[in-house]
Symmetry: C2
DNA sequence: ATCTAATGTAAGCTTGACCTAACGTTAGAA
DNA sequence: TTCTAACGTTAGGTCAAGCTTACATTAGAT
């Protein structure tokens, strides 16, 4: 998850993810969307691949990239758990408050 | 969301978030959980606060921190949308495949 | 007023991120 | 084979992240 987080921390990498979410695109097609040099985008792609967020498929001299949604699953789980646990904590808190009130009345 | 991402990219900051998720803790209590110096943790707390992930409440000379779950909401939305859109894309893909098959048969 | 406890802030160093320019590599065309 | 297209990789420079030490600040206690 660590790597995935660092990967999507870069705005351009998030845009790349969006690009290859629906369609399989070549490195060149992806790079053409941005102002930076092609090697810069190539490095982004390498990073995304190492983070498990995209897959690479070679076809002749071209390399086609596509999103790999499972890569974001751990992060999604982390957030969902965080939410659930937080709701649990809130529940415990309000119950504690409730007991306090009752105690006062008794 | 940018700031939130950079904030939770640090493992220690994620641990801090977990610490103050259920209980309100002072900077000192939080710093005591880690090996780095107190200023380092203080900087982490500042970062988390600026990212909107925790709230700070002063009580005398102490500062109490608590998680602010809304801070992670944008990131959660981003991931959820990503998932939904991805599912949509898959659906469109399979429909396209389906049409191809039918076309072949006709 | 002074002293102390609990923190934040600033300066300085080290390490890693990121970009560009130059070079290496692989697959297909001529 | 030779040439070319499409990429990746390396070297090097710049800027930001992150840690530590030293200093500043704020709120109570004496």
């Amino acid at each position: 998850m660590e790597a995935a987080l660092r990967a999507i921390a870069g705005p351009r990498r998030r845009r790349i993810l969006a690009l290859v979410r629906d369609d399989e695109l070549s490195a060149g097609e992806i790079a053409a969307q941005f102002d930076v040099t092609r090697p810069a985008v190539s490095q982004d792609l390498t990073l995304l691949k190492e983070a498990g967020l995209v897959t690479e498929r070679r076809n002749g001299t071209r390399r086609l990239y596509r999103v790999r949604p499972e890569g974001l699953a751990p992060l999604k789980s982390f957030l969902d758990e965080f939410w659930d646990d937080r709701l649990e904590a809130l529940k415990r808190e309000s119950e504690r408050e409730e007991r306090k009130k009752r105690g006062r009345r008794d």
